[in-house]
């Protein structure tokens, strides 16, 4: 019971913080909306007379004092109504959530690539720091950090799509609908379309994670318990994976949580290069056509995803090592 109570308090605190942050994001979104957008002009077009506009303005409640309007906005947000898109003439939230599977699967595929390559790569560079292979991996990772993600995408397209003609250069291709979720993973065409964008997106996160895992592993391998284990005759592989990697996880996950915002930005860039029909691509379309409700809803949704992801990262590190996180929360 005593062990559970601090964890429950921690969880409660985090949920409360989440609510506060969402409220702050909604306030900013409301402020942008009311200072930039003029829904009346969008609804009526240029031909409507001044008096028609004034009546409409009154009907929409745009002449109410702002606390009343803000209250109405929050009430709508609680019901999932964040406005109507100028371009699509539909609920902005629905428009954005339609694009969510595309972005999510792109990130998921890139994440799989990063996990599958960075763990062996990072361990190898830590246990053989002076080997040619480790130098090569680190050298390539400096190169990877220095090539902007959109340029990686363009390079891959010119090589594999234009020059060799092996893989498609844009779009999602054929998707299979599973309970309303459009998935790229279930058709060959979908996977072919997914490959280049996923490799592009992973190219920017991979060097970072190899370096993170490497330095966390190096820290652990220098500790006494590793020497003790070695003296006991524990096999090297077991020391690396069973002992050092287990302890190296914590700083890696803490750092990974901080990278989530960057991941969103890189996803947006990747989607632009490959015209991937995800949320970032939609956001840029909204910006180009000044669809203010869609822009502000995107900010709210992305803010929400960001807050949820950060909370999950905190909970994972809590599960891995209860002491550290609870002390930090105190």
């Amino acid at each position: 019971m005593d062990a559970i109570r601090p964890a429950a308090t921690f969880l409660f605190q985090r949920l409360f913080q989440m609510l506060l942050v969402m409220l702050a994001i909604l306030t900013i979104a409301f402020a942008i909306r009311s200072s930039l957008g003029d829904p009346v002009r969008e609804l009526t077009g240029p031909v409507a007379s001044e008096s028609e506009r004034a009546t409409l303005r009154d009907e929409l409640g745009l002449n109410d004092p702002w606390p009343v309007q803000f209250g109405r906005y929050l009430e709508g947000a609680a019901r999932g109504d964040l406005g109507t898109s100028y371009i699509y003439k539909r609920s902005t939230l629905a428009v954005i959530l339609d694009k969510f599977p595309a972005s999510f699967e792109l990130v998921l595929a890139a994440f799989l690539i990063v996990v599958l390559l960075s763990i062996p790569g990072g361990i190898y560079c830590a246990v053989r720091p002076r080997s040619l292979g480790a130098k090569l991996v680190l050298g390539v990772s400096v190169l990877g950090v220095s090539i902007p993600v959109f340029l990686t995408g363009i390079l891959l397209i010119s090589l594999f799509s234009v020059l060799l003609g092996w893989l498609p250069a844009f779009g999602r291709g054929e998707t299979v609908s599973v309970f309303g979720w459009e998935s790229s993973f279930l058709s060959l065409d979908g996977l072919e379309h997914l490959l280049l964008p996923a490799v592009t997106l992973s190219s920017i996160m991979l060097p970072l994670f190899i370096r993170l895992i490497r330095s966390a592993m190096l820290d652990e391998l220098g500790r006494d318990y590793v020497r003790t284990a070695r003296a006991k005759g524990v096999s090297r592989l077991h020391i690396w994976i069973g002992h050092a990697l287990r302890n190296a996880w914590l700083p890696v996950i803490a750092q990974a949580g901080l990278q989530f915002g960057n991941l969103l930005a890189f996803t947006l860039l990747t989607e632009t290069v490959f015209q991937w029909p995800g949320m970032g691509f939609l956001f840029l379309e909204a910006v180009a056509r000044a669809d203010i409700p869609l822009i502000t809803t995107y900010l709210v949704v992305v803010g929400g995803i960001f807050v949820i992801a950060n909370t999950i990262a905190d909970l994972v590190s809590l599960a891995l090592d209860p002491r550290v996180s609870l002390e930090a929360a105190r």
């Binding site: 400096v142 970072l208 203010i292 822009i295």
Partner: protein
């Protein structure tokens, strides 16, 4: 930043990094070449890429000189509007470096005083600065810049944003990344302020302002120079990304990112040079600055070198 005898002309680790590594000298020469190319672009460039009247559409999409159909008139070929790519790249380099350096100046101007203040005063000032820096770092600087410029574009319109793109980019990228400077300055001040020379200066009657400016600052300069190097690389990359998204420099005054964007469609028509040549220049520039930052960091922290290289996180 001089005077007082205890302040060396250049921070010792930076000097030793330059002396001990021939690679660093090569990188510095390369960087100087980039800087000179950008600085003297109007003198070197065969054509003024901003003067749209001088362009001939018949010259569009000509290949570089080493490919069939190329000529020495346009050594790197031309883009879709018939603009000489060499000139466009030189001018683009100029803008990219200008934005990168000015943005880092703003970052340093905000971050260093705040960080030093936090480290020197401690207490509430420290808590506030550290908390703000942490919050801003957990939001992605690139994402913040994208959102800020998207809002600017909606607010001002594409035309007006294009006309004022340089100051807006500098301010947005500058505001987005100050926490790196603040953290480094704070950590430096914390470790320096308890040292004997600071206590001696205080005993001799130096005021807090004098201690911070004339005694502590020169001694924490090396890590700040490294932060600046990495900051410039990040700022150049951020500018390129924003321009690639159409939220930065306009096509009439292209930076390297804008050139990559405007040439992007042409790779499907086989005119790869329009996008890949500015891309290669951008990568070479970023690589030079990043490697320079890495070497300086190695020289500053010998512990890293013994572990077989540096860790840029």
């Amino acid at each position: 930043m001089t005077g007082e005898g205890n302040a060396p002309p250049a921070p010792a680790p930076v000097r030793s990094a330059v002396r001990g590594h021939p690679g660093v000298i090569a990188l510095l020469i390369l960087l100087a070449l980039f800087a000179a190319a950008g600085l003297f672009a109007p003198l070197i460039a065969p054509q003024n890429p901003y003067d749209l009247a001088s362009l001939d559409i018949l010259d569009s999409e000509l290949p570089p000189v080493w490919l069939v159909g190329g000529s020495w008139t346009y050594p790197l070929g031309t883009d879709a509007q018939g603009r000489d790519l060499l000139s466009a790249v030189l001018y683009g380099l100029r803008i990219s470096m200008l934005v990168g350096i000015l943005a880092v100046v703003i970052q340093a101007a905000i971050g260093i005083p705040l960080g030093m203040l936090a480290g020197y005063l401690g207490g509430r000032a420290d808590t506030i600065v550290t908390r703000f820096a942490d919050i801003q770092l957990s939001l992605s600087t690139l994402m913040l810049a994208i959102v800020a410029l998207a809002l600017f574009r909606t607010w001002l319109g594409a035309e007006s944003l294009g006309a004022n793109a340089v100051p807006i980019l500098v301010v947005v990228i500058g505001l987005a990344e100050w926490p790196f400077f603040a953290r480094t300055a704070r950590a430096g001040v914390l470790s320096e302020k308890a040292k004997d020379y600071v206590r001696a200066a205080r005993a001799l009657g130096a005021t807090d302002g004098e201690i911070v400016r004339r005694h502590i600052l020169p001694n924490i300069l090396s890590p700040l120079i490294i932060v600046a190097a990495i900051g410039i690389a990040n700022a150049i990359m951020a500018e390129a990304a924003l321009s690639f998204l159409g939220l930065g420099m306009p096509p009439t005054r292209p930076s390297l990112g804008t050139l990559i964007r405007s040439g992007y469609d042409l790779i499907f028509a086989g005119a790869w040079w329009v996008t890949l040549i500015p891309g290669a220049v951008l990568v070479a520039l970023l690589l030079t600055v990043n490697l320079l930052g890495d070497s300086l960091r190695d020289a500053l922290d010998p512990r890293l070198k013994s572990r077989g290289g540096s860790v840029t996180a």
